[in-house]
């Protein structure tokens, strides 16, 4: 009978069978649920030894690169710190006026005015110096990678993987090797920030080029241009809108990484101020110092967006006068102005914010506890350790029994049979699997079942290659002895991704429908993406204490943003002709949305989901500061022990999980798209 089943159904049935066998074996064979320590290879030691030897070999070249980067970094620092602040502010305002008119000019003035008033001007300028060097570096590298991948389709797959790795391996995992290679100081932070910030640019350049309308390309070919002319004069300009999304994301990513530069140290930047205030749990001041980073991000982003617009610059004379006035002010009466660091107008505000946070915690303590306990008892705990262990008299008010398990499985079996009878085979299998997972808990899932299920999904979604990929990603985690923390990571980021996909997708949809809402959501997105997450840890911890719910919230706060952005961008960027055609053929608003906009947006939404998955995994390290015990924590342990091998192994395990989740999802999405005829 098995022979007659289509492969997808066969795989599903076999996976179910494997799960059932594992469930039955678990009580008698403990190795099914827990990978025996004796089967673990000393892989982390090997990695440590190999990497340490390899580092010595490339060290001279890396040091040379660091020394070279020291020059632009030094110039930028010198220019920004030597220039009196009225001149810097005037230059920004003048540029804003020239590129974007009075609105942008006043935005720049307000932003830099805030930085000045906060008293963080000097550290802010040091940070800006780092960003001024790292953003162009990341943009250039990202664009080069994206164009190379577009020109050589065979490179696309390895390049994609490489970009995923760059975005997912937390910097902390390779911090020790990075320090050994590049020495000490801000340049290491600069390199780390460029590594992390380049991928969004590369991805968007590639996506933008791929989506250039064929007729534009054909017109260029017919005009007799060379390949290079065609690329730089026709295709890249045509892809500009998508590329600008990349520029925006790269700027945001580079600024979100300035905190790493501070963790390394070497110069007194704004990230250092954030770290010091985070250490004191001083929310008011950490919020203000974090806001400085946000302001830089927003100002740079809006200016670069205006620069990319084709509108010629306006108000050249006005801009020139402002610039002149700023310089005149600083050189004529500069001595009379208060020094930049002396202003601290927000001390009272910071103290008030902090006091309000305390008062809120005190006033709503029981309600916050109830919220956390509810989420833990009925959501996160069952997902982690399963209903069989999460349902206790102290949590649900009843004790879980084997009878309850039997009843649950019987009910699920009946429901599945019902679904099967109606021809819903996929839903029936999914229901049974979900029941098994919730009963057992992700952390306690037998590893043979996880391997089998991932392999089967790979097989169905992408054939033997993807099945092999799935096993190749999971086996090393087992062999390195990192299975338990890896499953914790999977559970935590999995829960966060599901929440983000639902909430972010809905917000993106609403923002696409309502420009007014987008005007509110956009600055919130910028804020969430660039403010160092350290800042949020304080209120989250005060409200919900150390634990998984806090970690879950911290991950969601960061990972939800790409989902919102890409969903909205996909929905609003449908070409006008397609909409006009739909309207002309008599489609209603809803029909246009469902038949034209939504399908057209699918690739972008999928890219958003990819980014959300990667962001969720990359946030695990920050979440570890709240005291999780997953892979993120392993990375800190490795840092404390100076264990290069463990750090890299934990980072690699994170990447493997993220890649696997992403590839499986993309394969199924591709199959779905093909089925829809897109």
């Amino acid at each position: 009978m098995l022979r007659t089943l289509p492969p997808a159904r066969l795989a599903a049935v076999l996976t179910l069978a494997c799960g059932a066998i594992c469930l039955m074996l678990a009580p008698v064979a403990p190795w099914v649920t827990k990978w025996p320590a004796g089967w673990t290879l000393p892989a982390t030691e090997w990695i440590g030894a190999i990497v340490t030897a390899g580092l010595e070999a490339v060290k001279p070249a890396a040091r040379l690169m660091a020394d070279l980067l020291d020059y632009p970094m030094g110039w930028a620092t010198w220019a920004l710190t030597a220039l009196p602040y009225p001149a810097t502010i005037a230059a920004t305002v003048a540029l804003g006026l020239y590129l974007g008119g009075w609105r942008m000019a006043s935005g720049g003035l307000a932003g830099l005015g805030f930085v000045l008033a906060s008293g963080y001007w000097q550290p802010g300028m040091n940070t800006l110096a780092l960003v001024v060097v790292s953003v162009p570096l990341a943009l250039f590298a990202g664009a080069a990678i994206g164009i190379a991948a577009y020109e050589r389709p065979r490179l696309r797959r390895p390049v994609q993987t490489c970009l995923d790795v760059m975005q997912t391996v937390p910097t902390f995992a390779y911090l020790t090797p990075l320090l050994v290679l590049f020495g000490f100081g801000p340049v290491v932070g600069l390199i780390a920030s460029a590594i992390y910030a380049a991928p969004p640019m590369a991805r968007n350049v590639l996506l933008g080029l791929e989506r250039v309308e064929p007729d534009i390309r054909e017109a260029a070919v017919m005009a007799g241009t060379t390949r290079r002319q065609q690329l730089f004069l026709i295709e890249l300009p045509a892809a500009k809108r998508q590329i600008m999304v990349g520029v925006n994301q790269t700027i945001m990513a580079a600024l979100s990484m300035v905190i790493i530069a501070a963790v390394i140290g070497g110069f007194d930047d704004i990230g250092w101020a954030v770290l010091l205030t985070m250490r004191k749990a001083d929310f008011g001041n950490s919020l203000i110092s974090g806001m400085v980073i946000v302001i830089f991000a927003v100002v740079i982003d809006r200016l670069s967006a205006a620069l990319a617009d084709d509108r010629p610059g306006t108000r050249l004379y006005g801009a020139f006068i402002i610039l002149l006035a700023g310089f005149a002010l600083s050189f004529l009466v500069g001595g009379l102005l208060p020094p930049a660091g002396d202003l601290a107008l927000f001390n009272g505000l910071a103290a008030a914010t902090d006091a309000r946070l305390g008062a809120f915690t005190a006033a709503y303590g029981p309600a916050l506890d109830a919220l956390r306990n509810g989420a833990m008892f009925y959501g996160l705990l069952p997902l982690r350790i399963g209903l069989d262990q999460a349902v206790l008299p102290m949590t649900w008010g009843v004790q879980w029994t084997p009878l309850a398990s039997a009843a649950l499985f019987a009910a699920a079996g009946l429901a599945a049979a019902g679904l099967l009878w109606r021809g819903r085979f996929g839903w029936a299998v999914a229901l049974l699997l979900a029941t098994g997972i919730v009963e057992t808990g992700i952390v306690d899932l037998p590893w043979p079942f996880v391997l089998f299920a991932a392999g089967a999904m790979g097989w169905v979604g992408g054939g033997p290659r993807l099945a092999g990929f799935a096993l190749a990603m999971l086996m090393p985690i087992l062999l390195m002895g990192l299975w338990a923390p890896a499953m914790l990571s999977l559970y935590l980021s999995g829960a966060a991704v599901i929440a983000c996909a639902l909430v972010g997708g809905a917000l993106g949809l609403a923002s696409a429908a309502s420009p007014a809402l987008w005007r509110v959501v956009l600055p919130v997105c910028d804020f969430l993406q660039t403010i160092p997450m350290f800042v949020f840890l304080i209120p989250v911890l005060m409200f919900f204490q150390i634990g998984e719910f806090s970690a879950f919230l911290a991950i969601c706060a960061y990972a939800v943003v790409p989902m919102i952005r890409y969903t909205r961008h996909g929905l609003v960027s449908t070409p006008d002709e397609m909409i006009e055609a739909a309207v002309a053929s008599g489609a209603t608003g809803w029909q246009t949305f469902r038949e034209v906009r939504a399908p057209y947006a699918v690739p972008q939404i999928l890219l958003g989901l990819n980014q959300t998955i990667l962001y969720a995994f990359s946030m695990l390290v920050i979440a570890a500061l709240i005291g999780t015990t997953d892979l993120g924590q392993q990375i800190y342990l490795a840092l404390g022990q100076g264990d290069v091998g463990l750090g890299l192994a934990a980072g690699a395990a994170m990447v493997m999980l993220a890649l696997l989740a992403d590839r499986l999802l993309q394969a199924f999405a591709a199959a779905q798209k093909a089925a829809l005829g897109l």
């Binding site: 320090l179 963790v263 140290g265 250490r279 102290m394 949590t395 005291g627 924590q633 100076g642």
Partner: protein, 320 residues
């Protein structure tokens, strides 16, 4: 207060006399000595005092911010020259590896009397009568329970990379507490703040000198006295089966340098070796910075001006 003050002077003077007193070459005075500035206020104070003393001897000093966890490789390469306040309790293993390889030098204790232990905010004594005696914790364990630790009580431990002293002691003493790693110092402080604001139960592993001890009125739990015997011999301490069933041993706080300092700046090496700073001296300065919001440089300069008798002899012994 004056009595206490003159006692510092006496102890410090004794310390100074005991240490080797011999003038040394200044060495390369034109090149700045780079002192590491780490992430906590006490360290800033110690470092600024050391920096001023080196300047008084005729050196140039540069303060370089550096991550405590990650700076040791840079110091071994001579990109940083000294760290004035290193805590043996949370120094990363990299320090030990590099020190054992002769790439970093330990130039003696700073003199801070550091104490680690289990702490609780004052209001918790009302919730769990019997504190500070550690036996009280056994009876109150259920009071400290949370969803993650049920049915055991919850003990907030050090961040994972500092070790698991809370978990070890809770198990050795059979307290019935599950230790949750804090993840970071900020997380520990946020926990304590939330507990004080909401008057909820909390026991955490913490240390002094730290500004939070007085700011949040934290008290140490009276664990069985920590002795070398307790860590070597299972019979010592209340639990006859295990070692480590007692309070922490005092933590050594010391100064570390790049080994090249000795040859490049001999007198600076001597000053850094002989420099001491007691808890009683550092604590009020920490309060002035963290609680009153004053600038580190201003606070240490005021202290240096008022206590010339303490530090000037160290500088002069090394240079004259």
């Amino acid at each position: 207060m004056t009595g206490l003050h003159s006692r510092f002077l006496a102890t410090t003077a004794l310390c100074l006399m005991a240490s080797s007193v011999s003038a040394a070459d200044l060495g390369a005075v034109d090149e700045p000595i780079k002192l590491a500035i780490n992430e906590w206020t006490g360290q800033h104070i110690s470092t600024h005092i050391a920096g001023r003393m080196l300047e008084a001897a005729g050196y140039k000093v540069e303060y370089v911010t550096a991550g405590y966890q990650n700076m040791w490789e840079a110091m071994a390469e001579g990109e940083l020259h000294a760290a004035v306040e290193v805590w043996a309790s949370n120094v990363p293993d990299t320090w030990h590896q590099l020190h054992d390889a002769g790439k970093l030098e330990d130039v003696g204790a700073l003199g801070l009397e550091a104490r680690e232990g289990f702490v609780y905010p004052a209001h918790v004594a009302e919730l769990c009568p019997g504190l500070p005696a550690y036996e009280a914790l056994k009876d109150c364990a259920a009071l400290f329970a949370t969803p993650e630790t049920l049915p055991e009580g919850r003990l907030v431990d050090y961040p994972g990379e500092w070790g698991t002293p809370g978990a070890d002691r809770s198990a050795a003493l059979g307290l019935g507490f599950k230790a949750i790693p804090a993840g970071s110092e900020g997380a520990l402080i946020a926990e304590i703040r939330a507990s004080v604001e909401r008057k909820t139960p909390l026991v955490a592993v913490f240390w002094q000198p730290h500004w939070a001890m007085s700011a949040f009125d934290l008290h140490f739990v009276a664990l069985p006295e920590g002795t070398d015997a307790c860590y070597a011999d299972p019979a010592a301490g209340p639990n006859p089966d295990v070692t480590g069933d007692c309070d922490f041993l005092p933590t050594r706080v010391f100064k570390a340098t790049w080994p090249g300092v000795k040859d490049k700046w001999p007198a600076a090496h001597e000053i850094l070796s002989n420099l001491t700073l007691s808890t009683e001296m550092q604590q009020p300065m920490m309060g002035a910075v963290d609680v009153d919001g004053k600038d580190v440089g201003a606070v240490t300069d005021a202290w240096l001006a008022a206590n010339e008798a303490i530090w000037r002899p160290v500088v002069e012994a090394a240079t004259k």
